[in-house]
Amino acid sequence: MANKRVVVVGGGLAGLAATMKLCEQGTPVDLISLTPVKRSHSVCAQGGINSCNDQTRQLGDSEWKHFDDTVYGGDFLQHQAPVKEMAFWAPKVIDLMDRLGVTFNRTQEGFLDRRRFGGTLYKRTAFAGATTGQQLLYALDEQVRRWESQGMVRKFEFWDFLSPILDDSGRCVGAVAQDMVSMQIRSFPADSVIVASGGCGLIYGRSTMSVFCNGSVASRCMNAGAKYANAEFIQVHPTAIPGSDKLRLMSESARGEGGRVWVPRTPQDSRPPRSIPESERYYFLEERYPEYGNLVPRDIATREIFNICVNEGLSVESGRMCVYLDLTHIERKELDRKLGGILEIYEKFQGVDPRDVPMKIFPAVHYSMGGLWVGYNKSSDGGLAAADPTNQMTNIPGLYAIGECDYQYHGANRLGANSLLSCIFSGLFTGPCVSSYMNSQSGSAAELPAELFQGAVAAEEKRHAGLLSNQGGENPYLIHQELGDVMTRAATVVRDNTQLDQAYEKVHDLHNRAMSSSLTDTGAWTNQNVIFTKSLQDMFPIAKAILKGARMRDECRGAHYKPEFEMPSLKSEDPTARRKEASEWCDAFEEKNRKFLKSSIASLEGMHPEITYEDVDTGSIPPRPRLYGLVGADAIEEEWKNRTEKQAVATA
C-alpha cells in the first residue's frame, strides 16, 4: 500500500499478530512497545489455547458449542457476532501457530495433545507444557523479526505511547511516543493506529500481571475521546501464589490435569497436609459442583475459595488466607511433562516442591474483560464481515484496539485458555480491516501539515516538563501502593455499594495527590521516575471507571458480584410451591436482564468518567440463567425452557 504506514502499540500476541498480517499485505509497521516485544506480558500465559478439534468433535463438540460455552461462561455480556467469529476461527488459529513452529505437546501418535479447562466439559485446550503463552509469543516474535529483517517493521522498544494524534475531523493520524532511554518525544504519522497494550492489573498494585500492564495506553486514548467499556469486569483468578512484589499465577491447567482444591475440615489443622486422611479433607468445589468439579468457571471458583476462607474460617493458615491445590496424587513424570514450567515457578519462589507437598494458593487480580470500546459489522451468518473497516475500530476513526485492551470477547467473565485465542484472533482478523479503512481514506498521514504533529509533540513536552518541575511533595510510589490497596479491597471478589462510594472518594483524592507528585529524578536520561509517575496519573481514569461501573451495576453478573443483589436459591420442597418460586425467579431474572444486560460505556469528562449503557447483541444465543451449582437449578431450568418455548410459539 503506497505511502501508508500503521503504528501498532504493544507487542504481545495481539500486536504481533496484527503486525505480521499487515506486513503480509504489504503495509509497513512502526511497532511501539514499553519493552522488547519478546518480553511482553503474553509470556506469562501458562495453560493453553482453546479450539474445537477432531477429537472433541467426535464427542459432540463443535465451534458452535465453543461459542456457546464462551457466551454462557461470560454471562451473556458479549456482543455475540465477534465471539462467534472467534470460535469458528479457533481451529484455524491453532493450525497456523502449529505451522509457525510452536512446540505444542504431542500425543504418542504425534497429534496435538489437548487438556480440559474451566467452563467446558470438552478437552479443547492445546498447550506447550505450562508455558503456552511464551511459546505462542515467541512464534509471532520470530515472524515479526523476519519482517523486520526485510525492512517492513521498525521496532521502537523501550518507548512509551503518550497519545494518539487526531486531525481536525477527529480522525486518528498518528501517535506521540517517548523514548524511555533518551527521553526524546516524537510523533509517528500513521494512517491507522492499533493499540494492543494489554490489561490494567497494575491499578490493583499487585496482580498476576507484568509491570507493563498499567492501562496507560487505553487511558491516554480515553483522554483523546475514546470510550471504555465494561470496566467493572475484572477477573480474579482463583489460584495464585501470594508474593510481596507480585501475585504469581498458578495456571488453571493444574486443575485441568487433575489438581484438586481442598481445605482440612478442621480449621487450621496443623498436621502436614499429606497426613490428613481423605475423610477429613473438604474438597469443596467437587462437593458443591459435581458436574464441573474443580473446573467450574473462574469467577465461581474464586468466590468459593474466598468464601471458604473469609466466611467459613477454613483457611489452611491462621495468619494468612490460602487453600490447598493438590497435585501430589499425580505421577511425577506426568507432572513434569505437562506442568513443568509452573511447578518450577512454585518451587523457585516458595521453596517447596509441589510434586511432594500440596501448594498453598489464593485468588488474585488477573485479567480485564473490559477495555476500549470497539465496533463490529455483523455478517449474514451471525459472525463478522471479513475485512470490514469498522471491526475492532474504537469510536475514534482510524484508532483500533485489539487483545486484552479491547472489551469484545469475554463479557462478564473470561474462560480459561480463551485469552490467547482472542488476542491472536483479533490481531490476525484486524489486519485486513485496517487495510480496508486505509484504502477508503484519500492521501496519507505523511502528507499532512507538519504543524499538526508538532503541536501534538509540544503538548506532551509541556506535560513532561510540568512533571519534572512539579514540587507538590507527593511520592508517586506510595500513592500507587494506596491505590492498589483501595482497589483490591473495594473492587475485586465481593462488591458493596457503601464501600464503592467510599473507594471512589478515596481514589479521587489519590488522583489529585498524584497530580502533585514530586520527582526524585529530574534528569533527562532514562528517567524511570517520570515515566512511572505519568503512568500512575493515567491509572486513575480507568480505576474510577471500574469503581463507578461497579457502583452503578446493581446485580451479580460473572466476575461482578454484589451479595445484596444475588439471585437466591430455591427454598421450598413442595413441588407446586417450588414451581411458583422458580417462576418468580425467572421473572426476576428477566427483569435483571432488562436493566443490566448492557455494556457500561465510560467516557472521560475532566477527571471523572461518565457512564452510559449500550444494549448487547444476543442474536444467536438467547440469554439463559447461569446456574452452576445453584440450589433449585433443575426447577429453574425447566421453567425457563417452558417460557422460551412459549415465547418462540408466540413470535412464530
Partner: protein, 286 residues
C-alpha cells in the same frame, strides 16, 4: 490479594537489608558504588528490594538520590528482563530471594549490571545485540503465508520433547554474561548521527562479534523443525561466518548459569557438527 501479609514464621531474620549497588549515570560515564538499606520483609526478592529503594530514593546514610534504574517485566522468570549480577553471579532478580542471598552473604546484597552489554543507566543494559543475533541466524520458521493452510507437520512426541526446552530460551543473556569468548561491544553515538545511522553502525559491529550460546541454540532449534530446516543452509552460513560457532571456547559456563536449564552445550555440539558437514558440503559444491 486480599490475604494479609502477616506470617507466623519465627525464623531469625535481620531488621534491615543492606544493599550495595554499582551505579552509572549513562553510557561512557564512570560507575560508582552506592549503599542502600531497606526494611526486611518476608518472601522478599531483589525486585521488591529495588521497589522499596525507588520509593525511598535515599541512600543508607540518608542522602537523597535518584531512584536506581533497572529493567523488569513479568517477575516470574519467563520474560528475561531483569537479569543482573547478584552477589557476583548472573541471574534473574525476580527469582533471587533475599533469604537465600543472605544465606550466601549475610552482611549485604551486591547488585551490578551485566558486564558484557553496554550500560544504559545503573542496572539497565542494552541487549539489542542478542536480538540481532536471532536475526543473524534467521531464528524463525519460513512459512509461505498466514492464511489457513491446515495443520503443521505431524511431529513425534520425542521431537517435541527435544525442541521444547530450547524454545524456552527467554533471551535473558545469562549465558552470554558467563561466556569468556563473548566480549562487550559498545558503540557510542556520534554527534549529528540519526537513529538509523547509529542503528546501522551498531548492527555492523554486532555482526562481526561472537553470537554466543543463546542464538546458536535457536539456530539448532529451527534447523530441527520440519519446515524450519528449509532455511538451514542460510543459518549455517551465519554459524560458520565471522563470530560464528568457531569462536566458542567450550568453557561450558553458559549451561551452568542458564536459569531455564537449557542444554546449551548440547546445542553447541550439534551446531559444531552441522558446521563441519556444511563446510565440507560447500567444499564439494564448489
Amino acid at each position: 490479594m486480599i490475604s494479609p501479609e502477616t506470617n507466623d514464621s519465627t525464623e531469625h531474620h535481620p531488621e534491615k537489608v543492606n544493599v550495595r549497588i554499582l551505579r552509572q549515570d549513562g553510557p561512557g560515564q564512570p560507575s560508582y558504588w552506592e549503599r542502600h538499606q531497606v526494611p526486611y520483609e518476608e518472601n522478599m526478592n531483589v525486585i521488591s528490594v529495588l521497589q522499596r529503594i525507588a520509593a525511598q530514593s535515599a541512600t543508607a546514610d540518608g542522602r537523597d538520590v535518584s531512584p536506581v534504574s533497572w529493567d523488569c517485566g513479568c517477575l516470574e522468570e519467563v520474560c528475561g528482563s531483569c537479569t543482573m549480577v547478584i552477589n557476583g553471579q548472573v541471574r534473574q532478580s525476580c527469582s533471587a530471594l533475599v533469604d537465600r542471598l543472605l544465606e550466601e552473604e549475610p552482611s549485604e546484597i551486591e547488585l551490578k549490571p551485566m558486564s558484557k552489554f553496554p550500560v544504559i543507566r545503573d542496572l539497565m543494559v542494552d541487549r539489542s545485540r542478542l536480538f540481532r543475533g536471532l536475526e543473524r541466524v534467521k531464528a524463525w520458521v519460513p512459512v509461505d503465508s498466514y492464511y489457513d493452510m491446515g495443520a503443521g507437520p505431524r511431529q513425534a512426541r520425542s521431537d517435541q520433547e527435544e525442541a521444547y526446552p530450547l524454545s524456552q530460551c527467554m533471551s535473558c543473556g545469562c549465558c552470554l554474561e558467563a561466556c569468556p569468548q563473548y566480549q562487550k561491544v559498545e558503540i557510542y553515538r556520534r554527534p549529528g548521527e540519526t537513529d538509523e545511522q547509529f542503528e546501522a553502525r551498531k548492527n555492523e559491529a554486532y555482526d562481526e562479534a561472537f553470537l554466543g550460546a543463546a542464538p546458536i541454540s535457536q539456530a539448532v532449534l529451527f534447523n530441527s523443525h520440519p519446515t524450519g530446516k528449509n532455511a538451514k543452509d542460510e543459518r549455517m552460513e551465519a554459524l560458520t561466518g565471522p563470530g560464528g560457532i568457531q569462536a566458542c571456547g567450550n568453557a561450558q559456563n553458559c549451561v551452568a548459569v542458564c536459569p531455564k536449564e537449557i542444554p546449551l552445550t548440547k546445542s553447541i555440539g550439534k551446531a559444531g557438527r552441522a558446521a563441519t558437514v556444511h563446510s565440507i558440503k560447500k567444499l564439494f559444491d564448489r
